[in-house]
Subunit: 302 residues, 2 copies
């Protein structure tokens, strides 16, 4: 495995097609590893990027305390069979203050867009940069960031970027908590409270698969579960089209029901994607780990 | 030569590297032909695009009356040795209403950005789409659109697009008028008035090469020339850095002095680039045709 710091150097190391890219902010957990393994199974060359993109942090404090551990990330990537880890310095990515912004405004108005102004433009800009500069055939993104995934898919279509975007199910702890690098900041009691998010989404998924199509009824199942949990401050619970993030009143197309909440000092998001099939609605509840996540330095014993 | 309507089909026809791209709005004149010839001299494969990009027209009437003649464009491209003409339908470029916008706001505030709101975001978005989808090694742009050129260069740097942007000098009629597809709309008398733009810029260039470094003094040379011409309504005369389009008070880096004016019903722009060399300032006055332009259907006899 090679570690690179420039895009040209990275492109020069591609040995076999197709080239798969897994963009990350580093501090890998089993969710990232699942993306790496999916890429490894499907691609001749697998590149992973580790870059804490300052453009997508609307709160400076959040950027400063974002967890980092490149050495461990490199070990995990190597174990997953990654060929190249592209880990650029901020100066390499932005030799000048960036003057260009890519926005997908119609899809970024709701949900995360309300609570994290500028976040999606920061994501879109750096993802275009990675796709333009690294030219992967396939790029892997987790469904946990559902609105981000919708935005990236639309952006790639709009800009004719010849990269296939491959979504991957959310990876969860055995008790349902969606993996997130931010989970390390949860106290033991907040960790328990945080389960309300996934518990609500799983109850909602059961109802949807049992025939409930009303967005409001499904949202209320999640809201009620979260209201009953101590220390959980709900930011939103909303159903949205996976195609254009528009509000849906009923589940009649591919969509996701997403939730954001603050638990203690930590902001968490989670969602379940709902697909409409001839046999009814199918919920993608994600993948439960069969053992506790071992990649949280502070959460190993939870 | 092949005519294509999709990007994938176009990429599939590349036969030899490097691939050179000449993006145009069609209705070619000798300025475009000069770009094609430069690309032909430097590239193994030359592709030209003909697409009247609706995103960059801030006035619907301007879009509707933009001159078009694909048949003639194809003949001229063929004569210039172009390998592929990519001439997509609007539906091919925008199968869905485009939700993504690329902006280079800090470089788009002045000059054309003031007078054509949204224009540069429309240009930037479609140029990213062409560069991402067609993946040329080199792309050719005329210096006549000086602010556009500065914006595209910054955008390509910011987004790590691995395409070299190649600028080409402005091509002028024997009497100095910069070639533009819009020149066909000039009446005979307006055609005479329009010469004030280039005459002012040439006088300015002489002064700059003779040692005048003051932006204000150079701008006033152009303004005075234009004020003396009948029927010329000046929109702006401004010196700007070629790097970031910032206002310069003195010529101490690569810059351009640009002018925009309405002559009759026609909006014209022109400029001269000034480079600072160890020997003083060098003005790029452009290239004078040695015979009248023959590519203006309504202007052949001017």
């Amino acid at each position: 495995m090679r570690i690179t710091s420039t895009m040209a150097e990275t492109r020069g190391l591609y040995s076999a097609a197709p080239v798969g890219l897994v963009p990350t902010l580093g501090f890998l957990h089993e969710g990232h590893v699942a993306l790496l393994e999916a890429a490894r199974a499907e691609c001749g060359t697998v590149a992973m990027t580790v870059f804490v993109n300052p453009l997508q942090f609307n709160e400076t404090s959040d950027l400063a305390r974002y967890p980092r551990n490149l050495e461990r990330d490199v070990e995990l990537a190597s174990a997953a069979g990654v060929d190249i880890v592209f880990a650029p310095a901020v100066d390499e990515m932005f030799p000048l203050p960036i003057a260009t912004e890519v926005s997908v405004a119609p899809l970024a108005q709701r949900m995360e867009g309300v609570h994290r102004p500028g976040h999606f433009a920061g994501v879109a800009t750096v993802v275009v940069k990675l796709l333009a500069g690294l030219r992967p055939d396939r790029a892997y993104f987790g469904k946990k960031d559902a609105q981000q995934l919708a935005i990236i898919r639309r952006m790639v279509l709009d800009l004719s970027i010849p990269t296939t975007i491959v979504p991957h199910p959310t990876v969860r702890e055995r008790d349902g908590l969606a993996l997130s690098s931010r989970n390390v900041f949860l106290s033991e009691s907040d960790r328990v409270s945080a389960l309300a998010l996934s518990r609500g989404l799983m109850a909602m998924s059961d109802a949807a698969e049992a025939g409930e199509r009303s967005a409001r009824a499904l949202e209320e199942i999640v809201l009620d579960t979260m209201a009953a949990a101590a220390g959980v401050r709900v930011e939103y619970v909303e159903l949205a089209s996976a195609r254009d993030v528009a509000r849906l009143d009923v589940v009649d197309e591919h969509c996701f029901l997403a939730v954001a909440a603050r638990v203690g000092e930590v902001r968490l998001i989670d969602n379940v994607h709902l697909e409409v099939t001839p046999d009814g609605v199918a919920a993608d509840r994600g993948i439960l780990l069969d053992r506790p996540s071992v990649l949280y330095s502070q959460a190993d014993d939870v």
